[in-house]
C-alpha cells in the first residue's frame, strides 16, 4: 500500500449563499493519523466529503500525492470512506459487501473472494462471511465497514464519526483496533469526529474547525495545553479561562491582574507580542490546579469554596468559587481528593504553577 499525502490549498465550499468552508489551507502528511474535530455544522464533514469527491470545492485545489483531484468523480478516487451510518448494503451479505469495491474495479470473482476473505480474517470476522448484515452486532458491522473500505488497499482511509453509534466500552476497543491498523498499514487516516476523547486518543495531529475556519492544527498535547484561541480553549478539555491585564512583563514571565487576583504566567515560545497594560486571557487547564487544605504559600494561590462535583469514571470534576463568585473548575483522580475530605461549602486552597498558565494570543490587542 502506498501512502497518501494530501494538500488543501485555499479550498472553499458554498451551498448557495451559505458558506460551509472558508478558504482552508493545510497538509496531511503521508502515513499520518489526522483527526478533524469540531461541533456539528463546523465544516468538518464537508471537508471530508470534498476529499472523497462527494462534494465539489467552490474554489481552491485538493491534491493527493501531488495530483490535482478536483475534477475526479467520486468513483474514480481511491479514498474509501467509513460512514457514520456505516452504509453497509442491506441486501448483500458480509462478504458481498466487502467484495463490492473489488467487483466495481473489475477484479475477477475468485480473486475478489480471496482478497475479501483475507480482510475478513484480518478483522476477525471471517466466521460471519455469509451472514446477512442485520444479524451482526454493532462492533461486527464496524469491522465489516472497515474491511469493505480497506479491501482495495487505498493510500488514504476516510472515517466520518464511525464510532458515534457504539457503546462507550466498544468505542475504546475500536479505537485501539483503528490505531493498530493505521500503524500496521502505514496509510493516511483522516478521521472526522466531534468527540475530543476519540480525536486525542488516536490522532497524531488534530485540526480544530469552527464555522468553516481552521482554528488550530497541532498535536493533541499542543492543542490541549496551549489553545490558540478562546474557541479552542472552550471547546477542548476543561479549561479555566480568566480575563485580565498585564501588570508587569519580565523576560520569562508576566504578572497579570485578574478577577482571582494576581496571577503569574511563564512566557511560552511564540508568544512575544505582549505589552504591559494589554488585555490577556489566561488558560489554566482544570487538571493542572493543585488543591490543599492548608496554605502552601506557592505562587498563584487562592482560597476557594467547594460547591459541586461531577463523576466521570475515575476522574472527578470539582466546582469551586472564590469570595467574589468567580468559578474555578478542577479535575482530579478520585484517590487524589480523598485526603482533602471535601464537604460542600468547605474552604480550601488552590494553586497552579506559572508554567501551566497559557495565554490566548489573539486578544492581546485588547
Amino acid at each position: 500500500m502506498s501512502e497518501g499525502q494530501i494538500v488543501f490549498e485555499n479550498v472553499t465550499k458554498q451551498f448557495g449563499s451559505a458558506v460551509a468552508v472558508q478558504p482552508i489551507n493545510f497538509e496531511i502528511k503521508a502515513g499520518e493519523f489526522l483527526a478533524i474535530m469540531g461541533s456539528s455544522g463546523c465544516g468538518k464533514t464537508t471537508t471530508l466529503r470534498m476529499l472523497a469527491g462527494l462534494e465539489t470545492p467552490s474554489s481552491g485545489e485538493i491534491r493527493l500525492n501531488g495530483v490535482r483531484m478536483n475534477e475526479l468523480k467520486a468513483h474514480e478516487r481511491e479514498t474509501p470512506l467509513v460512514w457514520q451510518t456505516l452504509a453497509l448494503f442491506p441486501f448483500l451479505n458480509v462478504i458481498e459487501n466487502v467484495e463490492f469495491g473489488l467487483k466495481m474495479r473489475g477484479v475477477e470473482k475468485s480473486e475478489c473472494t480471496k482478497r475479501s476473505l483475507k480482510w475478513l480474517k484480518r478483522m476477525e470476522i471471517e466466521q460471519f462471511a455469509n451472514r446477512s448484515i442485520d444479524q451482526l452486532s454493532g462492533g461486527q458491522r464496524q469491522r465489516v465497514a472497515l474491511a469493505r473500505a480497506l479491501v482495495t488497499e487505498p493510500p488514504v482511509l476516510l472515517l466520518d464519526e464511525p464510532l458515534s453509534a457504539l457503546d462507550q466500552n466498544l468505542v475504546v476497543r475500536m479505537q485501539s483496533v483503528l490505531t493498530r491498523l493505521q500503524k500496521e498499514l502505514g496509510i493516511t487516516f483522516v478521521y472526522v469526529t466531534h468527540s475530543q476523547s476519540e480525536a486525542f486518543a488516536m490522532a497524531d495531529r488534530v485540526v480544530i474547525m469552527s464555522e468553516g475556519v481552521i482554528e488550530q492544527i497541532g498535536s493533541p498535547k499542543e492543542i490541549y495545553r496551549n489553545p490558540a484561541s478562546r474557541f479552542v480553549a472552550e471547546f477542548v478539555g476543561t479549561n479555566n479561562i480568566i480575563s485580565g491585564y498585564i501588570k508587569e512583563l519580565n523576560e520569562h514571565s508576566m504578572i497579570c491582574n485578574t478577577a482571582f487576583g494576581v496571577i503569574e504566567s511563564n512566557l511560552h515560545d511564540g508568544n512575544n507580542s505582549h505589552v504591559a497594560g494589554g488585555a490577556v486571557e489566561l488558560v489554566i487547564s482544570a487538571d493542572m490546579v493543585e488543591l490543599s487544605q492548608e496554605k502552601t504559600s506557592s505562587k498563584n494561590e487562592i482560597q476557594i469554596q467547594f460547591i459541586a462535583e461531577e463523576f466521570t469514571g475515575s476522574v472527578v470534576t470539582l466546582y469551586f468559587e472564590d469570595d467574589n463568585k468567580n468559578e474555578l473548575i478542577v479535575q482530579k483522580q478520585q484517590r487524589e481528593i480523598e485526603p482533602l475530605e471535601l464537604t460542600y461549602g468547605c474552604k480550601i486552597y488552590a494553586h497552579w504553577d506559572p508554567i501551566n498558565v497559557f495565554c490566548i494570543p489573539e486578544v492581546n490587542a485588547g
Binding site: 469527491g53 462527494l54 467520486a74 470512506l81 448483500l92 466495481m104
Partner: protein, 265 residues
C-alpha cells in the same frame, strides 16, 4: 372517561356494521355466482357451476381475458418503469420546477376517469391509434404510474441516503450504482408496484370502454352485460377477476410489508 367501556363497545359494533356494509356487495357477488336462480334472492336456490360454465364456454370471455392480460402486463411494466424514474428523481434530485414535474407525474388519479376517457379517446383518434390495443396500454400506464411512483418512493424513503454515495465511494459509477445498489434495494417495491398496477389495469373499465374499440377487456365485457339484463354471469366473471386481483394485491403486500426492515442504524 376514556375507558368508558360501553361506548367503546358501541363504537366497535358500529365499525363492524360499516365493514359489513363495505363487504356486503363483495360477499353477495361471490355467493350468487354459485346460486342457480336467474334473479338471485332469498332463499337461495341450489348450488351450481352453471354461470362459470357459461362464462368458460363463451369465446368472448377468453378474448377479453387475453386482452386484459396483455394490457395488464404491458401497462404494469411501463407504469412501473415510469413510476420508478419519477420516484428516483424525486428521491435524488432537487431542481427548478420540481413541483411542476411531480404534479405532472402524480395528478392523473385526481382527474375523473370519464374525463380522461373522453380526452384520451379524442387524442388517440387524432393520433390514429384509437381502438388499438396500444391505446389501452398507454391509458392504463398513465393511470398506474402514480401508484407505482408512490410505492417505490416509500421504499426509497427507507434507504439510508449514504448508501448511494457509499457505492460511488467504493468505485461504482452512477450507472453501476443504479444497477447494483438502487435497483436491488428497491426490488421488493418494484415487484409490489408491478402487481398493483396490474391490478389497477385489470379493473379499469371507463377508459377501456371508450378507447378499446373491439379489443374489449374483461371489465368492458362486464359493463356490456350490465347494460343488458340481470345476468349472474357477472358474478362469475366478477369472482374470477376478484380472485385474480386479490392474488396480485396479496403478493404486492407480502413484498411490501413482510420484507424485513433493511435500514441500518
Amino acid at each position: 372517561m376514556l375507558n368508558d367501556k360501553s361506548i367503546v363497545w358501541l363504537l366497535r359494533i358500529y365499525l363492524l356494521l360499516v365493514f359489513v356494509f363495505i363487504f356486503m356487495p363483495i360477499v353477495t357477488s361471490v355467493v350468487f355466482s354459485f346460486n342457480s336462480d336467474r334473479f338471485p334472492s332469498l332463499p337461495l336456490g341450489h348450488f351450481t357451476w352453471n354461470w362459470y360454465d357459461k362464462v368458460y364456454n363463451d369465446p368472448e370471455t377468453w378474448d377479453a381475458i387475453r386482452t386484459s392480460i396483455i394490457v395488464a402486463l404491458s401497462a404494469s411494466l411501463l407504469a412501473t418503469i415510469i413510476g420508478f424514474c419519477t420516484a428516483y428523481t424525486d428521491f435524488r434530485y432537487n431542481f427548478r420546477f420540481k413541483n411542476a414535474y411531480l404534479a405532472l407525474a402524480l395528478l392523473p388519479p385526481t382527474i375523473p376517469l370519464i374525463i380522461l376517457a373522453l380526452a384520451m379517446l379524442a387524442w388517440f383518434s387524432k393520433l390514429g391509434i384509437s381502438g388499438q390495443i396500444w391505446a389501452l396500454i398507454i391509458a392504463h400506464t398513465v393511470l398506474g404510474a402514480p401508484f407505482a411512483m408512490a410505492i417505490i418512493r416509500l421504499r426509497l424513503q427507507q434507504m439510508d441516503k449514504d448508501l448511494e454515495s457509499a457505492a460511488w465511494n467504493l468505485g461504482a459509477s452512477e450507472w453501476a450504482t443504479m444497477r447494483y445498489v438502487i435497483i436491488p434495494f428497491a426490488l421488493p417495491s418494484i415487484i409490489s408496484a408491478l402487481c398493483l398496477t396490474m391490478a389497477v389495469s385489470f379493473d379499469e373499465f371507463a377508459i377501456a370502454w371508450f378507447v378499446s374499440g373491439l379489443n374489449k377487456s374483461i371489465p368492458v365485457v362486464i359493463l356490456e352485460i350490465l347494460q343488458g339484463n340481470v345476468d349472474p354471469q357477472i358474478n362469475a366473471i366478477g369472482s374470477f377477476v376478484f380472485a385474480t386481483t386479490m392474488t396480485l394485491v396479496v403478493i404486492a403486500q407480502l413484498f411490501l410489508f413482510t420484507k424485513k426492515p433493511t435500514t441500518i442504524k
